[in-house]
Symmetry: C2
Subunit: 343 residues, 2 copies
Amino acid sequence: MRNRVNAYDVAKLAGVSQSTVSRVLNNYSHVKKSTREKVLVAIKELGFTPDEIARSLASKKTHTIGLIVGDISNPFYAETAHYILREAREYDYDVIIVDTDTDDSNFDRSIQTLIGKRVDGIIIASVRKTNQKVSELIQRDFPLIFYNRKIDDDGQANFVVIDNELGAKMAVNHLIQLNHQRIAYISGPCTYSTFNDRFLGYKSALEENGINYDESLVYQDELSYEKVLEFSLKLMRDQDRPTSFFASTDHIALAVMDAAAQNGFHIPYNISIIGFDDIDIASSPYIGLSTISQQKKKMASLVLKELISIIDNKSDELIQITLEPELLIRKTTGINVQIRSNG
Amino acid sequence: MRNRVNAYDVAKLAGVSQSTVSRVLNNYSHVKKSTREKVLVAIKELGFTPDEIARSLASKKTHTIGLIVGDISNPFYAETAHYILREAREYDYDVIIVDTDTDDSNFDRSIQTLIGKRVDGIIIASVRKTNQKVSELIQRDFPLIFYNRKIDDDGQANFVVIDNELGAKMAVNHLIQLNHQRIAYISGPCTYSTFNDRFLGYKSALEENGINYDESLVYQDELSYEKVLEFSLKLMRDQDRPTSFFASTDHIALAVMDAAAQNGFHIPYNISIIGFDDIDIASSPYIGLSTISQQKKKMASLVLKELISIIDNKSDELIQITLEPELLIRKTTGINVQIRSNG
DNA sequence: TTGTATGCGTTATCAC
DNA sequence: GTGATAACGCATACAA
C-alpha cells in the first residue's frame, strides 16, 4: 500500500501550514474563506482522509463507543445493536461490538480491550449483577451506561431499563386471567438482574393470586436451546403438567414452542406460551408469540443519547431511566380448558 | 476521570526506562528476567493498560478490522457477525461493525470512516456488484475480503463465497422433484451478486427441466417484510397460483410463510416454501424451514483467517474460495398434489 | 487570521 | 540488555 497522504502534504499543496489544515478540518471559525477553500481543494486533490488514530491521540477522544452484548446472534441483542448502530451513525460515533459469548472471562477481557482502545464510553447490555471491573470503572467515573441491566451497587450507575419485574407480573397475570394455574417459568440464572427481576415478578404475581409457588415448574439455568427443550419436554410429559409457560426471553420461548410441537401439542389449545422481549420474529403472524415488549428501539436511542451526553459532560447527574413494559397478546396464549383431575 | 497511568509512570516505579517497559509489553526476547519482573510488578501495581491508540499510531497497526453488514438485525448477518467476532477474539482483533441499513450512501460513508479509523482490514458482507470506493481500495491493495459477495471486477478481489447459483439450482430442483411446476421466486435486486447468482440458478434449473420462465412469478425488489408479504399474498390468491416459493433468503421466507398462514394455507400441503441461508431459526422444529445451507460458520472462520493472513502479508496470492452449498430438507417442502385446471 | 512549537503515548532505531 | 531519541499525524496553546 502506498504511503498515506497526511496533513503536511495538504498544507504544502495549499501553501499554508499544517495547523491551518487542521483548523479547516475541525471547522474553526477564524479561517479566511479563501484559504479554507484552497485547503479544501488540496484535500480533494490528494484524496486526503485524516488519520483518526492520530487525531484521537492528540484530542483524547476516539469518537468510538464500546457495546458489550452476550451473543450477537441472539435476536434481542442483534436488534438492539441495530438500533444502537443506527443512532451512533447519527451522532457520528463508531461502535466496537464485543460479544462475550456469555462467558465471564470474555467479559472481563472485553472491558480491558475497550479501555485499551480508549473508547469514549461503554454500553453494557450483558453482565452479571456483580462485577469487579465494572465497579472499578464506575468508581473512576468512566462514561458507562447499562442497557436493560443493573448491577448491585447501582446507586452510582447509569442505566436505561424497562421495569422487568412489572413486565413479568403482567405476563403471568395474563396467563392467570386465562384460567391458568400451573405456570412454568423458564429463565436464565438470577445472577443477571433481568432474570432476577423477572423471577420476582413471576413469584409475586402467583402470590397475589393465591397460587402456590412450585419449584418443580421452574428452570433457572443456562439458556441453551437443548437444555430448555429437554426441560420443557419433561414437564409437558408430566402427569400434572403445567398448562402454560412463561419464558423469560422470546428466544427461549421458541424452544418451548418446539417442545410443544414435538409433543404434539397445539398452541394455544393444549398449552399457552408467553415470552419476553418482543423480538422481530415474535410478531410474525406465522409465530404470533404473545410477549412483553421491551421497547428496544426507544431504549436503544435513549441509551445512546444519554451516553453521549455523559461523554460530553453535559450533566453529571445520574441517568436512571425505567420504561414501562407492554403486554402484547398474540396467538400463543389462550384460555385454559384443561380438565384437571384434582385428587 | 483521573489521569491515565502511562509507560513512563511504570518505568519510574520500576527504575528503568520507558523503552524497557515497551520491550516487556511486546515480549521482546532480550530483556533480563529480573528487570522484566520488576516491570511486571510495577504494571500490576499501577494498574497500567497500554494505550492502544498511541500504540497504533507508532506501529501503524490497529489490530482492528471493519465488518460491513447490511442490517445486523437480520439473522443472517447477526449469526455471521457472531462467528466472526468469535474468531476475531481468538486472533486478538477487535471489530468495528458498520450497519449500512442497506443504504448506498451509508455504505460509502462506512468505508470512509473505517479507513479513517485505520482498520487493518475490512470484511464486506454487503455491497452492490459495482462500487467505486471498493474498487479504489482494491486498486490500492488495501486488505479487503468479501464475505459471500463478489463485485464485478473480482479478478483482483479476495472472497469467500458459496456457490450461490448452484445453491439456487439445488433448491429449485428439489421443488421440481416434488412435482412443482409453478415456482415463484422472491428476491432482492440483481445488483447484489448473491441475488444475481441465485436468480441465474433459478432460471437455469427451470430451463433444464423444460419449465417456462414466468416473469409474473418473480419478485426482485426491496426486501422489506411488508412488500414481500403483499406480493406473496397477491400471488397466492391468483387463479393460477404458484404451488411453491423459492425465497432467496430465509429471512424473507418467513414473510412468505406468513402470507401462507394469512391465506389459510397449510404448509407444505397447500404450498411448499424453501429458503436460502439456513439461519438458526430455520432449523427450529417449530419452523422447520427447508433451505440451502450457507455454511456460515465455516465461511466466517475462513474469511477472518484469510483476511488476517492478507494483513500479515503471509502471501499475496488472491484468496478466492468457493464452498459447496447444501440442501436441507425439512418440513416446509412437500409433494405437490394440487389439481390443476390446465385449459 | 495564520504560523510555530509542543505534546499525545507509544514503537523503533540507534547508540552504548 | 538497556537507555536516549526520533518518528507516528494530528490538535492546540501561544505568538505574531
